[in-house]
Amino acid sequence: MFELYKHEVKMYIKTLIIWVLCAGGMGMVCILLFSSVKDSMSGMAESFASMGAFSDAFGMTQLSIATLQGFYATEVGMVHSLGGAMFAAIISCVMLSKEEDAHTSEFLFSLPVSRNKVITSKLGAVITHIVIYNLVCVIVYVMGIVILGEEMPIKEYCIFHIMQLVMHIEIGVICFGISAFMKRNRMGIGLGIVLFLYAYDLMARVIPDLSDFKVISPFSYANAADIFSTGEVDMTALMIGIIVMVVSAITAYRVYSKRDLAT
């Protein structure tokens, strides 16, 4: 089983490097730019905070964009959050279907490994990549913050990035579950899910009728502005996220271990 896991991890190393360079690099640049835009931001912070729904959606009513926390939450947080979610969706929504899409399923399943072990290896590879993405990006961001010499509340920072990791894993597992139904690669579905959940979270923050259902989107419990302003996590949303994750994983096992493989 470890051999398959190793193989899957290896197959997505290039994708991982590209996404880490993009998200981590952009985050680093944003952080380093903060000192140069700090003064002009202090003048704009009030305007940003009074833009009504726009300010609510992006959490600028909760945090001042003139502070590193606020700037990090609105700029770096968004890049990391969306970038990680898209990366998770891209690798996981083809993880199972790619074997049939590329006609490699007969080679893979002629090896004496049960389908459940194949699923576990692939899911393990998805989670490993998501963990590495988050870990490397955080290291890069921390380096940026250290270079900048600004203060960052450690507790909120840690909670935010742990929730980001959980959210990325949730999206990865949802897409992985969807992949179990597919016989062809459908990367667009994964990206569509990410954009829908992100847009839904923004809308739920603006439209009062949707605010009670905000918890449906995993972006709700990993929102930078909420975490940096309160230091807490929306536990209802997190629990729903964990349940969705477990259900998606069980679905992947049940569907993929039983169905006929396409050639």
């Binding site: 007969e106 002629s110 004496p112 050639t263």
Partner: protein, 273 residues
Amino acid sequence: MENVIEISNLTKMYGKARGVQNVSFSVEKGDMFGFLGPNGAGKSTTIRCMLGFINYQSGSIKVLGQDVKSGTQNILKEVGYMPSEAMFYQSAKVKEIIKMAANVRGMDCSKEAEMLCERLQLDVDRKISDLSLGNRKKVSIVCAMQHKPRLFIFDEPTSGLDPLMQSEFFELIKEYVNAGATCMLSTHVLSEVKKYCNNVAIMKEGNLQCVNKVSELTKTSSKRIKMVRDGVYEDFLFEGDLNDIYKELQGRDITDILIEEPSLDEVFMKYYE
């Protein structure tokens, strides 16, 4: 003689579409068994059921003494399977694929793999994406043979291989079979079955047409008759009581006649049509 494969009343439907219906046959240990039929006859479906790739509605399959539904992993440990589509991970190198297949089995097959690559003239340092169909087939052969399985299942193995490699491939099979392995060769190439197989099952439109020894297949009541009758040359396959043709020929001007066993191709074609 011990049966390595036992298939009984196998039925597989793809929704309402036909897969295979009531297929039953067995393969003896040490046999070189041909599995013949035109495209879409149900050969690959049968094989895929045998290896647990697809579920089937009814019937039973035992491979190496184990039921496919409960012992797939144990069966796969002892089987060398070569699919008709030799597809591998495009970004990997040949040696990585061969090593991966061995490692997943928890075996060190490096010596056997090296010997196979040498005999098949396979460059292990090339990337899969750079390989032709023939070379991908060679990779598939190495992956199927390197762990010295007890049972080989080949699905259209020679398509894409040049004649020299085809010959080398069959030499390798003969060596493994002589060492005690069993081989099931699924193909639509009649000559391969004629030349290498002892027994054959013929499939057509999802149904098993016959299972017999290759040598017995020509011993039918059919006769190929070539003659010059009333000055006209005639060549036809006659089925039925030979006395009938004797009666018909009486009183006719027969200047030349040859009555012979039909060729194996003709027997196969009879099942195909």
